[in-house]
Amino acid sequence: MRSATLFSRSSQYFLAVGLIALVTVILFTLREALDTTLIALLYLIPLGMITAYWGLGPGITSALITFLTFNYFFIQPYYNLAVHRPTDVVILVIFLIVAIVISQLVGRMQASLAAATAREREATQLYELSTALAGLHDGHTIAVILAKQVQDVSQGEAVELNITGTEPFVFRLPESSQPDRPPEWILPIQVARGLLGEIRLWRAAPVLTSNEKRLLQTFASQGALALERARLAQAESRARVLEESDRLKSAILSSVSHELRTPLSTIKAAASSLRSNEVSWDTAARSELVAQIDDEADHLNMLVGNLLDMSRIESGVLKPKREWNILAEIVGSVLARMKHLAGEHHIEVDIPESLPLVPVDYVQMEQVFTNLVSNSVKYAPEKTVIRVSAFVEGDSIHATVSNQGPQVPQEHLERIFDKFFRITEADRVTGTGLGLSICKGIIEAHGGRLWAENVPDGLAFNFTFPLIWEGVSPPKLPIDPEAE
């Protein structure tokens, strides 16, 4: 690369001299027809061109050569450098001055043009870098892009990016080989807070110019800003998660203190009444008190279970243990267990016999139906119909639990799945305010979606979940037992 520049530079001089020689020959043939002043003017044309195309060095050299040839060939007496006429002296001197001034002016313009082009290229490269880095929030990607751009610009043998800090990371270009000598240049990646890492560059020749160094330093500071931004973004999202979980915790605390205290008070009252020596309870009253203790203990157990489920969903450890199950069986067992709770409602089930096996966690899916049905039981008036249905919809199951209870204002349809969200006042209905959010968490853990909608005579909870599990469709089994 270096020898090529050298060759082209010497050839520039060579060409300049050639051009001057050519022009001299042409002017020489026309010597008799042309006035000395005109020849001097005509000589200025190649001089200007030479400086414009090949730069200041060849320009000045040509100006000096031209001064000599002009004097030698065109100023009398010809073929020597003596000058007789005073006007010719003036012409020669003016020619020399003009030639050199033109060369310098044109040359300077050239140089500033080259500098402008270089600056423009730098600006483009910087722009490309900052575009590539914009919006990135991942330290690794930023490091990789920065290393590639440094390599592009420097054309070095190798680049290594060394990110320090909590998540150290090293990226090399080319990834395979690395020169076994110390790098020629090490650039710190630095922000106000401190050192984030460094860029190591291997380029033995040509030696980095100060312009290149300046550009690479700008790259490093751009990279540093991007890395810093990524770190801040991470810290911010961590802070947001913490804040959210903090909010959840205080919501849980307030809900817990209210919800847990109610059954506890009942249990405490009933148990202490039974122990008290002041009243002698008849058998009926005694068994009523005992039944209260029993019921409220179950209620407490359910509350604690819900809280545990919610914390599991929140921390992302709720992993469904999927198996191929019969949805009708799950719904059947839920309804059988809820019989005493749903005594005053008519529950209709519409799940076709032909429904394929579904890949779900039996226990979790039971809980979804339990919560949705018990929500319907809680809010829909007695003697109304609660309907549970399911059908295949493409590669999914679409299940619905609908009731003839009060509709939910459009703006709350999403929010009823939020933790502790209640449309009615908390005291009117018992529960943790977690039932629906748990359902949503479970369905989402199954890769599905749960939503509520108002239907003409009430409210419907819909959910869908995929029938395909780990790429497998529901297994087909001999349904006809005699086919064995």
Partner: protein
Amino acid sequence: MTNAPHILVIDDELQIQRAIRTILTEKGFKVSTASDGQQGLTLAAANEPDVVILDLGLPDMDGVEVCTRLREWTQCPIIILSVRDSERDKVAALDKGADDYLTKPFGIEELLARVRVAIRHSASRQGTPSKVVHAGPLTIDLAWHSVKRGEEEIKLTATEYKLLAYLAANHGRVLTHQSILSNVWDPADADHTEYLRVYMRQLRKKLEADPERPQFILTEPGIGYRFIVDE
């Protein structure tokens, strides 16, 4: 009272120990208690119990490990106690030889029922197993391979019968998916719970009055099945 069945309770929660001891003693059982696995194993070795009630969450060792160690030398029934949502541990313990499980908190009647089933089973294990199982109107004759509702013969396919026979022979006990699949089908099929789902449904349709609300073949969510004969 020298013949009173001996029940060993291994649970680190003293309140539970106290409650179980009070009630079982009241019911005429001889109760000993241990607060950790090691103590439990020592007590069991010193005086072989008729039933072990074992909490899975012990301070010193895994309850499943206690199950395995007990099974190395005794066939006495083991009822495990555990908290909700630990199906995996329950199944592991059941597959390692535990006979039944109860989820905390439990009602004492449930516990007594499980203890009675366990004692009956250990008795029948020592004598000859009953050849005929009655469940409501159903009569299952394991010697003659016949199933009747009242006087009416119920036709079952070979697999359905094999499944029902396994359930009936172990009535009252909880049977994990894996144990049913490897006993009725083949150990290689132990993961194919879908077989179970489908055949259980067929069986319920033939045996139960309302297949959606079964009375005899009960589902133990996430664990397995249990065949109930009413007492």
